[in-house]
């Protein structure tokens, strides 16, 4: 070992130490804690002695109809929101990826919801979803259907509550992904389109054979991020529906927080947290595999 290396060693550790300490204390440690606590009977501020209960909490939550419903809701949410939001984002990106006057304004408008905290968006949409003919959305629907629409209490209807939250989420998230798609679109060389035009491709064919394949990795990224976000769903549920009606909008994270924070059942909440992490892990591994497969082929 020579001096250069030794110096690098010291300086390297010094530079990385603050971040590594932070990650260890505030991600690593809680993560381990989640694993350990999920095997105990811990309740916040309970005077009972700590005992290990093995897999009891896992066994229970996996039989708990509410938690299972929450899992199903997350899944439903992902199945609907991922394609819709990705599609909307791509569509918006294609629309604003043109050189027309005023395009910057449109782009800004589509992007605007992204800078709104979900908490605020949820509050605003709660009002928009107001039941009865005075609710804005109800009255718009009434107008559009020439009065055939029967006013609904969206957030208290077990069939409409989850879709209502989906709409809010798509509305908020599409702008973000539009930008990601825009970046992807602008990475595609103009020459490819010129070549395609010379080969006689029309606009649709250009999209299908040039644009879409070139956006493969972007799409994979957008899809996987949206999928994971779908499973992280919490703010809207907490504010708009509290998981109801009939648990139609309960989510895994909401259930974990409800158990740990509202009912002080830290151990049960931790077990849910671990299940949540395993889902995210699987999704991530799947996405990574897709991307690396693409790299091998490409």
């Amino acid at each position: 070992m020579n001096n250069t290396f030794r110096r690098d060693n010291r300086v390297g550790w010094l530079m990385a130490a603050p971040a590594l300490t932070g990650l260890a204390l505030f991600i690593g440690l809680p993560f381990l804690l989640a694993l350990i606590l999920s095997f105990t009977n811990l309740k916040l501020a309970s005077p009972l002695p700590l005992t290990f209960v093995g897999l009891q909490h896992y066994a229970r939550i996996l039989q708990d109809p509410v938690f299972l419903r929450a899992l199903l809701n997350n899944l439903l949410f992902a199945v609907v929101v991922v394609p819709l939001q990705t599609g909307c984002a791509l569509l918006l990106a294609l629309l604003v990826n043109r050189k027309l006057p005023g395009m910057v304004v449109f782009r800004t408008l589509f992007f605007l919801p992204v800078i709104f905290p979900f908490a605020l968006i949820s509050v605003v949409w709660m009002l928009l979803y107001a039941p009865g003919p005075n609710g804005v959305i109800n009255s718009v629907l009434e107008l559009l259907t020439f009065g055939f629409w029967q006013p609904q209490d969206f957030l208290h209807n077990q069939y409409l509550a989850l879709p209502a939250i989906m709409v809010v989420s798509i509305w908020q998230g599409a702008g973000f992904q539009m930008i990601v798609y825009l970046a992807g679109l602008q990475d595609i060389s103009e020459e490819l389109y010129e070549a395609a035009r010379l080969d006689g491709a029309n606009s649709w064919q250009q999209f299908w054979y040039v644009t879409f394949p070139c956006l493969r990795n972007t799409t994979l990224f957008v899809v996987s991020v949206t999928t994971i976000l779908s499973f992280r769903l919490f703010d809207q549920v907490q504010i708009m529906t509290k998981g109801g009606p009939l648990n139609a909008t309960a989510t895994v994270v909401f259930e974990a927080v409800r158990a740990a924070f509202e009912r002080q059942q830290i151990a049960r909440g931790s077990a849910m947290t671990v299940v949540f992490f395993i889902i995210v892990l699987c999704l991530t591994v799947f996405q990574r595999r897709m991307v690396s497969e693409d790299r091998r082929v490409g």
């Binding site: 020579n2 001096n3 250069t4 290396f5 110096r7």
Partner: protein, 374 residues
């Protein structure tokens, strides 16, 4: 001023595969030494070990008899010009050139003065307040030179400094570099993959291949007496033609199976080849210039029947690519191997035409089975 001595230098990342394989080299004070070789040969790595940017596994590097193995770059009193110039993009030319001096804690006034002196020398005074982005390739190159010169280093290291310039500018700056180097007399190590650059610029040239030093010699010696087949083929454009042969007494024999063709060797060459054992298979190396177009009907014993594959007229000379025709082709078992001749006249040969070329054997080189010159 300083000399650079490299002894038994070994560089390896994994202890098995050697990037630099026991290099021994002495660069004399004030000399312009060029490292040349194909990409991946280790020439840049060698330069960077001298700079201190790469650690070494074994051996020793000293500058002015001072062992520098473990010294960080800034303590080696060297300056370096990088392939992409590595000008700090956020600083003006003046700040770029001042940077090394400021690192030495030189008083501001002296810095200004020295920067301006060097700028004048390189004719870049009017560029001093510009940012690198605003400069042309040639100007950037000059600024990079300036930044290296300004600190008056003992050794000047240049890593392919011209490779990002167009051909014409490259020639111009190449000669400028040579001039400045001569004026200042700074020991300079110059890395290039371009053998023409190496030949024109280097006072001595070190040829590397696979981390092994092949030959260190002045350009003319490198050309006329390459140490091995690799150097012979790497130096010169196009490289040397290599043909299998045998020496039999006073004669050069092309060992054909049915009917060996023999040429008598000129007197002056015989002495150098005497130690070869009779009938040993060796290699004959012929520069493209060694071929002459034989006049019609004036066949000498050193002539070769050839078939033209292609003739490129370059304005002054013609590069003639050819194959040896039968019986050589089959008998020598050298298949479709092609050779190149440089003929100093305009030639109008049709492709496929059979012609005869004479060979000036006096400039020929001989290599043994392992490829080493004999």
């Amino acid at each position: 001023m300083a000399d650079v001595t490299i002894k038994e230098l070994v560089k390896s990342y994994d202890k098995k595969h050697l990037i630099l394989d026991h290099i021994n080299l002495e660069i004399k004070d004030g000399e312009l030494m060029v490292f040349v070789g194909p990409s991946g040969c280790g020439k840049s790595t060698l330069l960077r070990t001298i700079a201190g940017l790469e650690s070494i596994t074994d051996g020793e590097i000293s500058i002015s008899n001072r062992r520098v193995n473990n010294l960080p770059p800034q303590q080696r009193n060297i300056a370096m010009v990088f392939q992409n110039y590595a000008l700090y993009p956020h600083m003006s030319v003046r700040d770029n050139m001042s940077f090394p001096l400021r690192m030495q804690k030189m008083p501001a006034q002296e810095i200004t003065q020295q920067v301006e002196t060097v700028a004048e020398q390189l004719d870049i005074t009017r560029l001093l307040d510009k940012k690198p982005k605003q400069l042309s390739g040639g100007q950037r190159q000059r600024v990079a030179m300036g930044r290296a010169l300004v600190r008056q280093p003992e050794v000047f290291l240049m890593d392919e400094p011209l490779s990002n310039l167009d051909a014409k500018l490259r020639v111009q700056i190449r000669s400028e570099i040579a001039t400045i180097q001569r004026q200042l007399g700074v020991t300079t190590v110059y890395v290039t993959h371009d053998q023409v650059e190496a030949m024109t610029l280097g006072q001595r040239v070190a040829v590397l291949k696979d981390g092994i030093l092949q030959q260190v010699a002045p350009p003319d010696e490198l050309y006329s007496r390459p140490a091995n087949v690799f150097v012979a083929q790497f130096i010169g454009s196009p490289g040397m033609n290599i043909i299998p042969c045998r020496i039999s007494g006073d004669e050069l024999v092309l060992p054909l199976e049915k009917e060996p063709v023999c040429w008598p060797l000129p007197e002056e060459m015989r002495a150098g080849l005497e130690h070869l054992s009779r009938d040993e298979d060796i290699w004959l190396g012929l520069r493209p210039e060694a071929f002459r177009l034989s006049a019609q009907g004036q066949e000498s014993s050193l002539s070769l029947p050839c078939q033209v594959l292609d003739a490129e007229f370059l304005g002054y000379d013609t590069l003639l690519r050819f194959q040896l025709t039968a019986p050589f082709k089959t008998a020598l078992n050298i298949g479709e191997q092609t050779f190149t001749a440089r003929i100093f006249q305009q030639l109008n040969c049709a492709v496929g035409e059979n012609i005869t070329l004479n060979v000036d054997v006096r400039t020929a080189c001989f290599f043994d089975q392992s490829g080493t010159a004999v």
